[in-house]
Point group: D2
Chain length 103, copies 4
């Protein structure tokens, strides 16, 4: 719990475990590689539809990471805020982010 005193860690935040961080980084690196792959496809003048299929795969992967982060947030930080009576701001934040994703 002394992670909470870490400067980089928001007070509202239940810190992620090593495993959680590793798993997220791994997925984000794969996404980074996919974005580079699309750059290569563009440089090689590859067919638009093939590039679009690839972009759509990146979006699906990003969406998964997003839902994963959201689930963890609701389970930990959000539930904690409600329990500690700091629900109001957390609810506003959560709804804002859900609205942004539902666009």
């Amino acid at each position: 719990m002394n992670h909470c005193e870490d400067n980089n860690v928001n007070a509202k935040m239940v810190p992620r475990t090593e495993e959680e961080i590793e798993s997220l980084i791994k997925r984000l690196r794969r996404i980074e590689g996919q974005v580079r792959g699309v750059q290569k496809m563009v440089e090689d003048n590859r067919y638009c539809i093939d590039i679009l299929v690839q972009i759509s795969a990146i979006q699906a992967a990003l969406n998964k990471v997003g839902l994963n982060l959201l689930e963890r947030h609701v389970n930990h930080c959000f539930a904690k805020a409600i329990r500690e009576g700091n629900g109001e701001e957390s609810i506003r934040e959560l709804m804002d982010v859900i609205k942004q994703f539902s666009k």
Copy 2:
């Protein structure tokens, strides 16, 4: 038009201009940088909501690149296929990709 004989260029493809390629690459590099930025945020144990806002920005940027590619495709390759009487396959391809994006 002799780009069409290039191995990397699909016969169905009206090749992109230098400017088009450059502009796409520039946007994709920025997206790649944003994905690396999210990795850094995860490593720094940053607040979930802030990371989610960032991911949502990447999705919006990817969506713009996708729509840009789609618009160009419809304007060039797709219109060409219809004019040359090869519309059927092109329509199926186009609808498949639109369905994937509408998910």
Copy 3:
């Protein structure tokens, strides 16, 4: 709170006020009218693009009602479940519904 004993009211549910119900019904009636409007457009053989614009407006309206319901749910029923220590099922439910909407 004796609404809670009402058969139609789920125990997990903080009952909606008269005003909330009225406002939701009003919006849903408007949506129902829009769906009937699209039927009329189809019967009149109206231009596809015009019908699609109308369908997209209905989707935006439904999305707004959905976000409104979700916001109220998070504010009331969900926060209550967390406070009462019944968070686990509520979190699963919430994430399931968010996943469905993000599709």
Copy 4:
């Protein structure tokens, strides 16, 4: 083809067949019924999550109708416009509607 002289039919429009109209109307009536069902759920003070699941089902059904209309449009009216050299306006229209749906 004399449908084209019908006042209700846009000149850009390849008229729908009786079967196409019937099938669309049937699906839209079902959607109308689903919207009424949600009104009933709200009146009965039903649990938010159950209503949200229902709204998400309506959105999926509307999306299907939209994709169906879009496919038919691309196959008929759009392909016709391209062939007749009136592609420019049609492409703009199509992209506008795709952008609206991708929001």
